[in-house]
């Protein structure tokens, strides 16, 4: 048994390149990140690595400006284009890495001007250069590899017994891992070349979706597995959880290209343009969407029955369900006016008067940013009795009074709630109140939910208060009222949307504030930048500085002498939305600034000068 085992490494030696390796083995990260950039920067500008980051920050700063409705933004990506591309032959890399390269090359997008760069072909072999540039650690590793290879061979030859198997394993591991590095070495070269190509046009990297029209693409698992360590795109057939961990392993550098929308010469949309274009566009699926709605519409009587039986209804699935719910509201309304008419012929239409079993429909739009419990409860109350005045006090007090009001009137209220999981209704304390309202026998609640994870909003107690029945209502209808598309996207991209206008805005505000306010802001920005450099954590928000620590720093710098004064200064910033404050899991207050790193650097520079 020992013998056969030992002969394996030899026999399988070529295999690891092609076959999936054991996952999860970590290797030093430094090489993959450090090497290419170092080489490139020296090759291109001859300046130190430090100046590179600076240069880039400066160069790209202006790209982040937000196009105003009139201004046409001129991209200055030209600056990046000036670098001399250095042609370098691809490392005669592992056979398996090659197809990927070809793939990527073929898929490399070109500017719309049609200037292709497929033609960039390796011209000069420079295998020796690699050796010369190989840093020390790599050479060390190489020798370790040689040693371990020798050890393996010796063992096979000598046929030693199994007590040294552990050593052998280590040796084999070293052997294999360095082999992998070699493969990666090739990748590094490749990467570098990519980046050089990238200076001529946008490049295509592993993390970005492939651009080729799909269909003819065959799955080449080989290339994926060889590159797995580096490529954030794991093989496609991984089970979901594996994929998650593969992409979120700590230390995996997220390799994405440095393209920006500005470098694509893409002008961002303005509100006017968005709506103008949208108006002219005809959805090819409009008929199908309407058909889907009609199908859902057929369940209206069933829903009405379910509501009448004391259940709540929650509609979920992709697409806006607002129009559908509106039609349902109409259905319910018609149903009851008709029923009322049938009940008392003489009275004609039930006019929602006092007495009698009347029915009102209240529509709540949860996605409206200003939606508040008070407004919702107030509307319900006014549906019962238009002259009713809500009592002052917290939500639970208001709820109690509304419930009392309901109990004293013979009226059914159907609450049609759009987007129960919208941000305004996700604030703490709102769902329990809604649940209690829904649990009232005279309230029928039908709501829609847009996010796929909405069920997490409720614990079992709330669930049983809501008493929900869930229906899949995928409509594919566009979210129109629910979204403020242009602002949302710009916020997503970090373009200023609703706050002070970036750097200029901040300087403007600071200009009108006293000296110590400026100092405090400079201090805060500095701290946040330091934290940003340290952690680089995966959270989308900027890292925050602890409130306490910040105060102490401010005290030491003689910016303020009391917490009161400190608070006052912060308040000013808050009013201009120049800082954010949140609490972490432990409940400590964290202060931060809602700007991107580049902006922060610019602001800091400005403040220092």
């Amino acid at each position: 048994m020992v013998r056969t085992k030992k002969s394996q490494p030899r026999a399988e030696e070529p295999a690891p390149r092609a076959s999936p390796r054991k996952r999860g083995r970590d290797e030093p990260e430094e090489p993959t990140e450090g090497t290419p950039s170092r080489r490139r920067s020296s090759g291109r500008t001859g300046a130190g690595a430090g100046s590179r980051t600076n240069g880039r920050a400066n160069g790209s700063r202006s790209e982040y400006d937000f196009p105003s409705d009139e201004e046409v933004h001129a991209s200055n990506s030209a600056m990046e284009d000036t670098g001399t591309p250095r042609k370098r032959k691809r490392q005669p890399a592992t056979a398996t890495a090659t197809p990927r390269k070809d793939d990527a090359e073929a898929a490399t997008p070109r500017g719309r001007e049609g200037k292709g760069n497929v033609t960039v072909t390796p011209s000069k072999p420079n295998g020796t250069a690699v050796n010369g540039e190989t840093p020390r650690w790599k050479r060390n590793d190489r020798s370790a590899r040689k040693k371990s290879a020798r050890a393996l061979i010796e063992k096979v030859v000598a046929g030693e017994s199994s007590d040294e198997e552990a050593d052998e394993d280590i040796a084999r591991e070293i052997y294999e891992s360095s082999e992998e590095e070699e493969a990666e070495d090739g990748d590094d070269e490749e990467q570098q070349q990519h980046q050089e190509e990238g200076e001529e046009g946008p490049l295509n990297e592993a993390a970005t979706p492939s651009k080729k029209p799909r269909g003819g693409r065959t799955k080449t698992t080989n290339k994926k597995t060889t590159r797995r360590k580096k490529s954030p795109t794991p093989p496609r057939d991984l089970p979901p959880h594996e994929q998650y961990f593969a992409q979120n392993r700590p230390g995996t550098s997220q390799k994405t290209s440095n393209n920006t929308l500005a470098s694509l010469q893409l002008q961002l949309l303005t509100h006017d343009e968005y709506f103008a274009v949208l108006r002219d566009w005809a959805d090819p699926h409009a008929d199908d969407v309407a058909f889907l709605q009609a199908i859902h519409g057929e369940s209206f009587p069933q829903w009405a029955f379910e509501l009448a039986q004391g259940f709540g209804i929650c509609l979920y699935g992709y697409g806006s369900k607002r129009a559908l719910l509106h039609r349902f509201a109409r259905h319910i309304y018609d149903l009851h006016t008709a029923a009322a008419a049938a009940a008392d012929h003489c009275d004609g239409y039930g006019n929602g008067g006092n007495g009698g079993n009347t029915m009102k429909v209240v529509i709540v739009n949860g996605y409206v940013r200003t939606a508040s419990l008070r407004e919702i409860l107030g509307t319900v109350a006014s549906a019962v009795d238009p002259g009713y005045k809500l009592p002052a006090g917290g939500p639970s007090a208001v709820l109690d009074s509304v419930k009392n009001l309901l109990s004293s009137h013979e009226v059914m209220i159907t609450v049609v709630l759009n987007s129960i999981d919208a941000a305004p209704l996700r604030k703490p304390g709102i769902q329990p109140i809604l649940a209690q309202l829904a649990a009232h026998p005279q309230i029928q609640l039908i709501c829609s939910a847009d996010t796929p994870d909405f069920t997490l909003l409720w614990d079992s107690s709330l669930r049983s208060s809501f008493n929900f029945l869930f229906h899949d209502c995928t409509t594919f209808a566009p979210y129109e009222a629910e979204l403020d598309v242009v602002d949302d996207v710009h916020e997503l991209l970090g373009r200023k949307a609703r706050r002070v206008g970036g750097k200029e805005g901040v300087t403007y505000v600071l200009r009108s504030l006293p000296e110590n306010a400026k100092n405090l802001f400079r201090l805060l920005v500095g701290e946040v930048l330091v934290l940003m450099d340290d952690d680089g954590g995966s959270s989308g928000e900027n890292p925050g500085v602890e409130y306490r620590a910040m105060y102490q720093k401010a005290e030491q710098e003689f910016i303020c002498s009391s917490e009161m004064a400190f608070r006052t200064l912060l308040k000013e910033f808050h009013d201009h939305q120049m800082i954010t404050s949140r609490r972490d899991v432990m409940g400590t207050e964290l202060l931060s600034v809602p700007f991107r790193k580049e902006e922060l650097e610019a602001i800091l520079e400005d403040l220092m000068s």
Partner: protein, 710 residues
Amino acid sequence: MAVDEPLGEAYEEKQHQAAYIFDPSDAVDDGTRPAKRRRVSKKLKKSEAHTVASTSVYPRLFDGAESERCAHIRQQLFEHTWSKIESRIQRILREANQSTLRQVTSFLQAAPDHAPVGKIPSAFIITGPNIASQDLLFEQLAETLQLQADASVVRLRSGDASNLKAILKKMIHDAVAKVTDDEENDLEVAVSKDGRRFLNYDLEALHTHLKSSPRRHVVIAFQDSEAFESGLLSDLISLLSSWLDRIPFALLFGVATSVELFEARLLKSTCQCLYGRQFDVEQSATIVAKVFKAAVAHSEAPLRLGPNLVSSLLERQRDQVASIPVFVSSLKYAYMCHFYANPLTVLFSEELDEDALHGENLEALRCLPSFRHSVEMAVKEGDIQRARLLLEDDRYLTTYLRDRLEHFRHWAVKFLRILKIITINNSSSAGLADMYLDSLLRGVNLSDQDAEIGESIKRMQPSDSILFLTRLLDVIDNGDPSLGLDAGAGDTEEAVMELSDILADIKRLHQENEEEGKVLRSKYSGQSKIVRTTVVAQKVQLSRDTAALTDNDKLYTDLMDRVLEQLRIVLRVEGAEDLVFNEIWLYDSKALYKDVFIPRPRGVGERALSRPHDYLGCSCCRSREDQVMPTFPTTAVLYQLYLETGSLINVADLWSAYYAIVGEDNEGGLDERTALVLFYRAMAELRVMGFVKQSRKKADHVAKLAWKGL
């Protein structure tokens, strides 16, 4: 947009209003609306004509061919049957808490006598994780304490108040308001004797109020004590204890974990203010078993719920600690589905009038698989005449149907009785549920499938068998009210007589043997074989011997054989699926229940986005697995690309990838600005659905938040 257009102006106007009252009468109606409304109202008027306005109406089935009356009967039947079941369930739920209620009340009543001075009497009620039914428990507690212990009860939930002031406000408000419920009450609270106004969180106000309307206790109930912030709770308790000499406070804590854990969260000094006792609540498993008996197995429940459905309900109850209200609603939903969508449920009605038996219903009856099977059996048996009558003669079919339904009622009772007998030996009612689920469809037959039960009866010791037979006869004589079983043996009268004779004989034999000091046994009982150890020539020999049976033993063996024989007659019933017309009263569909109570929104969303064709049904988007078509809705295209990315996404690259798919280079592609508009919209949708969020790591990058299939 196109979809929204016919929806009237008010709809568009009010879309950015957070809440408003829906009133289409002030909106301008366009062409399509009034037509629809007229149709609905006409239909309604007719059906509502003979009843008071009931809020919902069943649709007419058979494509509308069903008569109004039938639909109406079905609805009434549903309301009638379910209300009976629901009242039984409610009774069980209320009774379940009775013992806890009594204990807590007596504790609080006696507390002033034996509680040490300066300590607040407190009851810790271990509710377990079933927080959903806590509400009922505390509601009952409040009622009982108010009535029996002369207390005013304030119920607090963690959500109600986040700080001491708010809690005090609510406490005082509730305690004062509960008693009087008048408007002048507010005045009374607000002003003290010397005309000074109290702050609304000043306990002095409560004190003054109690002077005017004295109470023995002011009970503060913390429903979910663990959810309260521990510091807050400590503060409140020490504050209350300082008022204890003026206001007779008592506390109730609902504890989901254990008292020790709860105590660990409080300050030591706070704990010393409490004088407490622990009370247990009946565990949800036993309550579920009781509800099962009353709602599913009960003889008056018209619908037999099949094992598929019920076992998945019970399983969910066990595995996910779903609350009892959910269990009850699931049962209700099963009833709703059956009566709403099965036109034959009209036949449940007591007086089967001719209306119910009109053409379509009879036609549907003839289509039932169980009916067809029975006709085929008739043909096979050579009873062609009957088969022909069944198929052709409506009148004959009607009589047959009545007969079968009558038979079903007998069967249901018999089935329950047998279940009860079989489960005599294991006292837990959970056993009944399992047995029910096991044998509902295939029936009970001691000679084949359930031979094991027979064996175990056969092996019984005399004392056991006496007990068993006594209980058996007791069940037959008295029935079981919790299952709705009446007394009476039904069609097995003779067997029962025989069994009681046997019981008498066994008793006599047992008596005799006991007098002689011997053990009565049968040849089946375990000890009939004994192992003898003999030492022969220093070797141990083991030999098995059948112990000699005495005459009495032989008699007993005979008796046990006869018992089994009789039981085989008594305990024999066919399965539900073997009965003709079982489709009318058997409901066993799990799919609907799962869809409606256990949604998979993630899966649905992912499916919609990765295979939009499944929903849209259009010709252009039919795709193979994981393939993107340029005709996909924009969000679906982006979603596919999104799936390929790592945890950080470069929007610029995403855009170029997207544009490469839909852009002008392709056939019928979009121009850049239109594509960008759609791209924007899709990005915003991805964001609102929680797939991406802003990332500040790099320019124009967003972070990925969802992984498919997780």
